[in-house]
Amino acid sequence: MGTKILLDKINIPGIKTYEVYRANGGYASVEKALKTLTPDEVTEEVKTSGLRGRGGAGFPMGLKWSFIDKKSGKPRHLVCNADESEPGTFKDRYLMEYIPHLLIEGMITSSYALGANLSYIYIRGEYMWVYKILERAIKEAYAAGWLGKNILGTDFSLDLHVHCGAGAYICGEETALIESLEGKRGNPRIKPPFPAVSGLWTNPTVVNNVESISAVPWIVMNSGEEYAKIGVGRSTGTKLISASGHIKNPGVYEIELGLSVEEFMNSDEYLGGMMNDRPLKALVPGGSSVPILPANLIYKTAAGEDRLMTYESLSDGGFATGSMLGSGGFIVYNDTTCIVRNTWNFSRFYHHESCGQCTPCREGTGWLEKVLHRIEHGHGRMEDIDLLWDIQSKIEGNTICPLGDAASWPVAAAIRHFREEFEYHIRFPERIKNRDHFVNEPFEKVRNLV
């Protein structure tokens, strides 16, 4: 059993309520920070911890905090990004649903560090029941004096509210999230200026993910140095992994960064191996936007080393042979999975979710979806494969926000690693008439046919 930082109390009966959470040491980090540490000292602890943003980008959290403009004289804000919408990712919901006060505690301590007196948790609208859970928990925290004016008799005051989105993946991008929080369409902003300088209502703002903020209480209580001892290299601490697909035990797991992918996949403590013991075909380790890995690159890197659950090891070799830890949305596919259908499915998602602001993304995602649809449905042409490659390469890096990249990478990786499967679809359209066309035609057979 590895160290548990976020989920260590999750199985305590009633931990969702304030009374039980408090009785089990909850809100101690607020006490410690407000009474014994300066805001800069809290920031320093987070910097020392090496904690990297757990939303997917992996940017060092303490460094991000240090960018906040403290000289402008404007109000500052902390906004928690709870707009979890990346296919394969469902970890933040788990934290908020089962231990909501952990996030609230983290919000208070983090707001103190940033000098923010008005903070928000922006949650996706579909998680409406979780929104209500948070709303009730915030009321409890106000009633207990952890929120409001002069918390614990100090000069620090904080108002915290939960705000719901309404079904737009793009609002997980921090500037789109801010636009949405201002009551507008979720169109990403051009950066710079970065939110740390001009964010919510043009005030200096830090946007952090649920999981990142929830780690702050532990860091404050145990020190950044202790946190940095967990993990490997620059991948410090623990990480929530949400696992789905063709595995025996789907769910949310807290792992120490550095665990091997093989152990995570096959040990009974974690995923328990493949569902129905079918062969492993592919893996998306960090949510739908990251490149898919074929079976031969999952447990070992291209250099033949054990593949680890770290930012570095999962990306080893770049996109040619690696992927990304991303949000930790771990999707496992067995040999019955049609990669073309799956790629088309992802492309449909990105086309649907493009905000339409940038032409390469607005037009390109739809184009990708259409071409993939026709290949999957037996009307593809051999030149379509190169066309897909060309389209995705013209979206990547040419948009205001990373949605364009997110739409490109899955297509590029699918062609890179599973080109034979695309060719099979085009050469043998009569064999792909139904949606389950690979259940009786495993990939190895496909590979031999083309």
């Binding site: 409406m128 705000h163 009551g183 696992a243 789905s244 499915n345 949606r435």
Partner: protein, 176 residues
């Protein structure tokens, strides 16, 4: 913009107004527009889960913003319905993780059972079935959203049960 002709009775009750004011109080006095999305959710829930243009104009008046500011938001976010839908809207997640665990079959089964196609509403106005993009329940697939709640690990038997419960009025749609 095309004017929808669907009629809707507007009923901003004192309780709803109180809730709207509470939500608006979460933002600075001069930033009431920020309350737009949460307010639209509340208003939609109280009006049979859809927002006519007249209702959108009423929301604009309440928040003291221009109607266009409401229209552009309603047309951007997928959770706001611009025309009447069934009392029970089954929103099946159809993205990768759900797809590989049988979401398409579950949706087909539901449509077949209700005698409609995806995107349609039953003639009695009771049910609508739609496919939607990722709902963040990937480990509990296949699943659907029904009102404020998720129905996960769906099987054909579970779908039968949900439909029966809807018809019997046993399903809670909103967590108020």
């Amino acid at each position: 913009m095309e004017k929808y002709t669907y009629k809707q009775e507007i009923n901003i009750t004192p309780e709803l107004m109180e809730r709207i004011n509470e939500l608006a109080s979460h933002y600075p006095e001069d930033k009431r527009k920020s309350a737009l999305l949460p307010v639209l959710h509340e208003v939609q829930d109280a009006h049979d889960n859809w927002l006519s243009q007249d209702l959108q104009i009423r929301v604009a008046e309440i928040l003291n913003i221009q109607p266009i500011e409401v229209f552009e938001v309603v047309t951007f976010y997928t959770m706001f319905n611009q025309k009447p839908i069934g009392k029970y809207m089954f929103e099946f997640c159809r993205t990768s993780c759900c797809m590989i665990r049988g979401a398409e079959d579950m949706m087909d089964y539901t449509c077949q059972k209700l005698g409609i196609k995806e995107g349609e509403t039953t003639v009695d106005g009771m049910f609508t079935v739609v496919g939607v993009e990722c709902l963040g329940a990937c480990g509990y697939a296949p699943m659907m959203q029904l009102g404020d709640f998720y129905k996960e690990h769906l099987t054909k038997d579970k779908i039968d049960e949900i439909i029966t419960d809807c018809r019997a009025g046993k399903i809670t749609l909103h967590d108020k």
